[in-house]
């Protein structure tokens, strides 16, 4: 096949590696990250100074017997240092936040814009719940990577280096002890990394599985009740939780060892430094001092810095889960960003909508996935201005897919759709949509008033336009009984409105938009007979002088169509007027007769 639908295969070379992408995004916040690192490093230097002054005070009071008044200036300087470090702690947190916040906003908006260019068909691939989780929660999971992890990574190297640089000139032995562990630092970081990644992964996995199980049970509670299993199911909650606990704890016991090792390093280095210093003072050891005597203030200074040598590393360990989470989130984000937009979303040609519009889809082939069965095979269909076409077929025959192609939400694998001779893929989609009125199978109502839900169809519509549309679609018939009429808020998923009422609001949108072409996808699906009848009546009177394509699996309401097309299994099997189709043997006549 020449046009082998390249967009459907995720190009494995195109999506960057998660870590590379994460680091690449730093460019949106380089300044803030730099401030955060600088604040952290400055604070580390001040900590070294603080240690120096503290040991001077103790030395002065104890060894030199200095009085407090002599030491006062040192106390004052230390007060200043502490205040400065407090300010730096604040600056570090806030600048880190700005780094994460800026990048989150960038990524979130990029995702949303991208979804717009994917269109409903491609965006819907896993299911909409997962997409919104990515946009809301996963993007949030990037924050700690930039706000804490990256800056800490820089500090975990620079602060220990600074400390060694101060300790070494006093005692090469003590400095050496720290330095000896320095080559271990990268190794330790990998070690901690693996451990921490394990901890967070296993922990979160266990949690999310338990939550999924719990959610499943809550959702199925009415069913459990009806099956007389609801009380027994409590035991299963306890059992599943216990199972997860056992499994997770097994892993955690090992994983925690990595942090324990680092803590042991830190504790032991303090102990060893103390023993080394003590025995040096007492004259039992005489090495590592460049031939000079060790004073108390020097010893205390080294001792105070020993725990701080490992502190940045330990902090990195606590932020390591941020890295794991960000990597996980990035996978999901890249999964969306690496989907190629449909070609139909990239067209730019304007359409002259003042002229009557003819649509010509010829020899359309389409499959949602190259590996799967084709949904449409060699389908051709023409919409002549002013003509009413009914497309009939059982559910699953490919009607809605064809409609999605006509809407430009996906591109045919083969064949072409033209509007007044213009290939749909070259048209700017907005101008084509401007000519369309569309009612889907499950119209979506937004968290807004009924009037707002109607008004969305025509930006700039006046209140009286909206009321007019609501009247024509018989929305007023039920809205007048609502406490706030058209200004009543629609609840979650149109909660509070019946299916028929939702359908009427959707019709009102189409009436308000007043477009020349109507695409109607099972506008009466799931409605009882009376409601369906009355909706079809409203539609029929509105359809005069417009081009209409009606998709339906019901065989009533189609007698008035100028042209009927019968679809089965993704192919056109017959077409003609109602009389023609009834006068010859075929699927259509059979179906109509079997119903009788």
């Amino acid at each position: 096949m020449s046009n082998d639908i390249p967009h459907k295969v995720f190009d494995p070379s195109a999506p960057p590696k998660p870590l590379k992408w994460l680091v690449g995004n730093m460019r949106h916040a380089r300044g803030w990250i730099l401030i955060s690192v600088s604040a952290g490093f400055a604070s580390g230097l001040l900590l070294i100074l603080q240690a120096a002054f503290l040991s001077r005070i103790i030395h002065g009071a104890f060894i030199d017997g200095l009085s407090r008044s002599v030491l006062n200036p040192l106390f004052l300087i230390l007060c200043g240092l502490v205040a400065l470090r407090a300010g730096l702690a604040w600056a570090r947190e806030v600048s880190g936040f700005h780094a994460g916040a800026g990048i989150r906003q960038e990524v979130r908006m990029a995702l949303i814009h991208h979804i717009g260019t994917l269109g409903p068909v491609r965006a819907d691939h896993p299911h909409s719940g997962a997409l919104s989780t990515t946009i809301v929660e996963q993007v949030e999971a990037l924050h700690a990577f930039y706000a804490y992890y990256l800056p800490q990574l820089a500090l975990a190297v620079s602060i220990p280096a600074a400390i060694v640089a101060f300790v070494f000139p006093i005692s090469w032995a003590a400095g050496g002890l720290l330095l000896m562990t320095a080559p271990l630092i990268p190794l330790l970081m990998v070690f901690i990394g693996m451990g921490a990644e394990n901890i967070s992964q296993k922990h979160f996995q266990a949690l999310s599985r338990m939550s999924a199980h719990f959610l499943d049970i809550l959702q199925g509670l009415p069913t459990l009740k009806l099956l007389d299993r609801s009380r027994a199911e409590g035991k299963s909650i306890a059992k599943v939780s216990d199972e997860y606990r056992r499994q997770t704890m097994k892993v955690l016991k090992v994983a925690f060892l990595s942090t324990a090792v680092l803590e042991l390093f830190s504790s032991l280095s303090i102990a060893l430094v103390a023993v080394y210093l003590g025995t040096t003072y007492l004259g039992y050891t005489q090495f590592g001092l460049f031939g000079q005597a060790l004073t108390l203030k020097q010893g205390l200074f080294i001792l105070l810095l020993a725990p701080d040598f490992y502190l940045p590393l330990r902090e990195l360990g606590t932020h390591y889960h941020a890295r794991a989470e960000a990597m996980g989130a990035t996978q999901e984000i890249l999964d969306i960003l690496s989907r190629h937009p449909s070609a139909t979303f990239t067209g730019a040609r304007q359409l002259d909508t003042s002229r009557p519009l003819a649509v010509d889809a010829s020899k359309i082939h389409f499959a949602y996935n190259i590996r799967k069965e084709p949904v449409l095979t060699d389908v051709s269909i023409k919409l002549v201005p002013g003509e009413h076409v009914a497309l009939v077929g059982e559910s699953g025959a490919g009607k809605t897919t064809l409609l999605n192609l006509l809407l430009g939400f996906a591109e045919p694998d083969q064949g072409e759709i033209r509007v007044n001779g213009n290939p749909l893929s070259e048209l700017a989609l907005e101008t084509w949509h401007r000519a369309l009125g569309w009612v889907g199978q499950n119209p979506m109502l937004f968290h807004d008033t009924i009037a707002g839900n109607i008004g969305m169809a025509l930006p700039g519509a006046t209140r009286s336009d909206i009321e007019q549309a609501a009247r024509s679609a018989h929305v007023l018939d039920f809205s007048r009984h609502l406490p706030r009429g058209l200004d009543t808020k629609v609840g979650e998923h149109g909660w509070g409105l019946s299916r028929g009422q939702v359908q009427r609001v959707a019709l009102a949108r189409v009436f308000l938009k007043d477009a020349p072409i109507l695409l109607l996808d099972e506008p009466t699906a799931g409605l009882d007979v009376d409601t369906a009848q009355s909706i079809m009546q409203t539609l029929t009177s509105f359809s005069k002088n417009r081009t209409v394509l009606l998709l339906t699996h019901r065989l009533d309401h189609i007698q008035t169509a100028h042209h009927i097309i019968v679809m089965t299994g993704g192919r056109l099997v017959d077409q003609g007027s109602y009389e023609e189709l009834m006068n010859r043997p075929g699927v259509f006549r059979e179906a109509v007769n079997s119903k009788r």
């Binding site: 908006m109 939550s211 303090i270 938009k513």
Partner: protein, 581 residues
């Protein structure tokens, strides 16, 4: 703060079975901090004393460095080991508490389902419940345990310091209290309001996102997508602004902790230097005091951040308690009566509405269905058909009037007896995220392979199951994903067959199915239901001639009843309905 305690107390009490484990975790955490204090303090004292002793050869020789050097190593190992043990014990305890919390919540809402849970039906809200429970799980690890550890550390360190100097101990106490109590409370106070905004803002953004994705077709076709993007961008910025305020509070409390730690050491040293000068304190202890104070703050530093988000924990607790404390709509009898022998159904002058201000759905409704009869209840949506179902399975109770099965009032049945008497296929049967087999076994846990296969065969599903590579052990996706609507419906039909109750009630069993599947399913049903009392609630008009009787309902009333043939002649409404089909 009082309100906070009030909301959290029920949960803290709930953790009672885990008190011991929680206590152990807290103790180990405390032990680890105290070992740190000991390690730094002893090291400081040791090198000070050694340096002083080293000034003259004689004292240096006499100085016993054996115990201190053993001591520091002992503290070093204690610190590491107790921290490791603490991690394991607290995580284990958290998992146990999580199980307790879930079980508690489940047992509380089980009697409320489904009537009182109707408003929580959507996946989103259930999801939030699950998240709320997780938030409460964190109560112990993030708040309770660190608070206790901090408290014990303050007590331990201050008592230890008092051995050396009361003034220093008092000063340390002051700073530790400010840092351990005032600072976290200030963070909690200033975080509470923003926390509420954060929750609202996140909710709004999630709603706009879900709406944008689900309504993408509408938004694109009607040219409103850019508006939606703008709204989302605005909400995302708003969220980030609130988070920014949280971050500034965090920054301030970090600064506060740094400041207080520093000032505590300085003040203690300031007093200490003076005491050394006055000969009230041994100079070697100066380092000990300073280092011990420094190390003790390790226990306090996580508190402000944890308390800052306490407002959200409280909100989660409130929401859960709100749900759990709702009165159940239906209370079942606890005492099983003698087995029911007749299975006719009788509605006697039933009045019903879904709330005290809702419109009446049924008024003085009477209905009798004889044992073994096959009856279809036909009518448009909103005529009260599904209400009959809800009343019959006692998801709700009539406001007035009574319902009987075989002359026994419905509310004399225990829940179990009622479920064994009525088998149902409801409109929204949930399929669980597990294997086909386990989904079937829910209807009858003791059923053997033959029973399962026969139930599947009756529902005309056996061929399909046998064609699956893993047969009955095929895993069903989340909420039945991977099954077509018809398969899911027939699977719930097999569940009903398995349960084999004498009365079968089906609420719109063929809704959303195409005609061929519908016909197959109804055939399966009629074939299996020879001796059962069968009640099918529907608005579809296919296969009505196979019922003994059809009841046509409109606006909560029976407008016509009789056999298909009789009704065609006598009821113009019925004839019209069939005609429109």
């Amino acid at each position: 703060m009082k309100k906070l305690l009030k909301d959290l107390t029920p949960f803290i009490r709930l953790f009672r079975p885990h008190y011991r484990r929680m206590g152990l975790g807290t103790f180990l955490g405390w032990l680890s901090v105290m070992a740190s204090v000991g390690l730094l303090g002893l090291s400081g004292w040791f090198i000070s004393a050694a340096a002083f002793a080293g000034l003259s050869l004689g004292t240096a020789y006499l100085f016993n460095f054996f115990y201190p050097s053993i001591g520091v190593r002992l503290f070093a190992f204690t610190r590491t080991l107790s921290r490791y043990a603490e991690r394991i014990v607290t995580h284990d305890a958290t998992f146990r508490m999580l199980a307790t919390l879930r079980l508690w919540f489940y047992q509380k809402i089980e009697p409320l389902a489904p009537a009182r849970l109707m408003q929580y039906r959507s996946a989103d809200i259930l999801n939030r419940i699950v998240l709320d429970i997780e938030t409460l799980d964190n109560l112990y690890v993030r708040v309770l345990s660190p608070s206790m550890t901090a408290f014990l550390t303050i007590v331990g360190v201050v008592l230890f310091l008092a051995l050396f100097d009361v003034w220093i101990a008092g000063t340390a106490l002051l700073f530790l209290l400010i840092s351990g109590i005032a600072l976290p409370l200030a963070a909690a106070g200033s975080g509470a309001d923003i926390g509420r905004h954060l929750t609202i803002s996140t909710g709004k953004m999630r709603m706009l996102t879900i709406e944008g994705i689900q309504g993408l077709s509408e938004l694109l076709v009607f040219g409103a997508w850019n508006q939606q993007i703008a709204a989302l961008e605005k909400e995302s910025s708003a969220l980030i602004q609130y988070q920014g305020r949280m971050s500034r509070i965090r920054g301030l409390s970090l600064a506060g902790t740094t400041l207080l730690t520093g000032l505590a050491i300085l003040t203690c040293l300031y007093i200490g230097v003076n005491q050394v000068g006055r000969g009230m304190l041994d100079g070697a202890n100066l380092a000990l005091v300073g280092f011990a104070v420094l190390a003790s703050f390790e226990a306090l530093s996580p508190l402000p951040a944890a308390y800052q988000y306490l407002g959200q924990t409280k909100k989660a607790a409130e929401r859960l308690l709100d749900i759990v404390n709702a009165p159940p709509a239906v209370i079942f009898s606890e005492v099983s009566m003698s087995p029911v022998e007749h299975f006719h159904i009788h509605f006697d002058s039933v009045d019903f509405r879904y709330g005290s201000s809702a419109p009446w759905i049924l008024e003085r409704f009477d209905l009798h269905i004889g044992q073994g009869q096959h009856v279809a209840i036909l009518g448009e949506t909103g005529t009260g058909k599904s209400t009959l179902f809800n009343l019959l399975v006692r998801f709700w109770d009539p406001v007035r009037g009574s319902i009987q099965i075989g002359d026994h009032d419905l509310n004399t049945f225990t829940e179990s007896d009622l479920r064994q008497t009525i088998g149902v296929v409801s409109q929204q049967t949930h399929l669980f995220h597990t294997t086909l087999r386990k989904n079937l076994l829910m209807a009858r846990p003791e059923a053997d392979e033959t029973a399962l296969r026969s139930a599947l065969e009756k529902a005309q599903l056996l061929d399909w199951v046998e064609a699956l590579p893993q047969g009955l052990d095929t895993w069903i996706g989340e909420a039945g994903k991977g099954l077509s609507g018809g398969q899911a419906r027939r699977l719930s039909l097999s569940r009903m067959f398995l349960q084999n109750a004498p009365i079968w009630v089906l609420d719109e069993p063929t809704e959303g199915l195409d005609r061929i599947t519908e016909r197959k399913m109804m055939q399966a049903l009629f074939h299996a239901s020879q001796t059962h009392t069968l009640l099918v609630i529907t608005h579809r008009t296919a296969d009505l001639d196979r019922f003994d009787e059809i009841i046509l309902m409109d606006k909560g009333r029976i407008v016509a009843r009789g056999s298909h043939d009789a009704l065609l002649k006598t009821s113009s409404e019925y004839a019209a309905l069939i005609e429109r089909g």
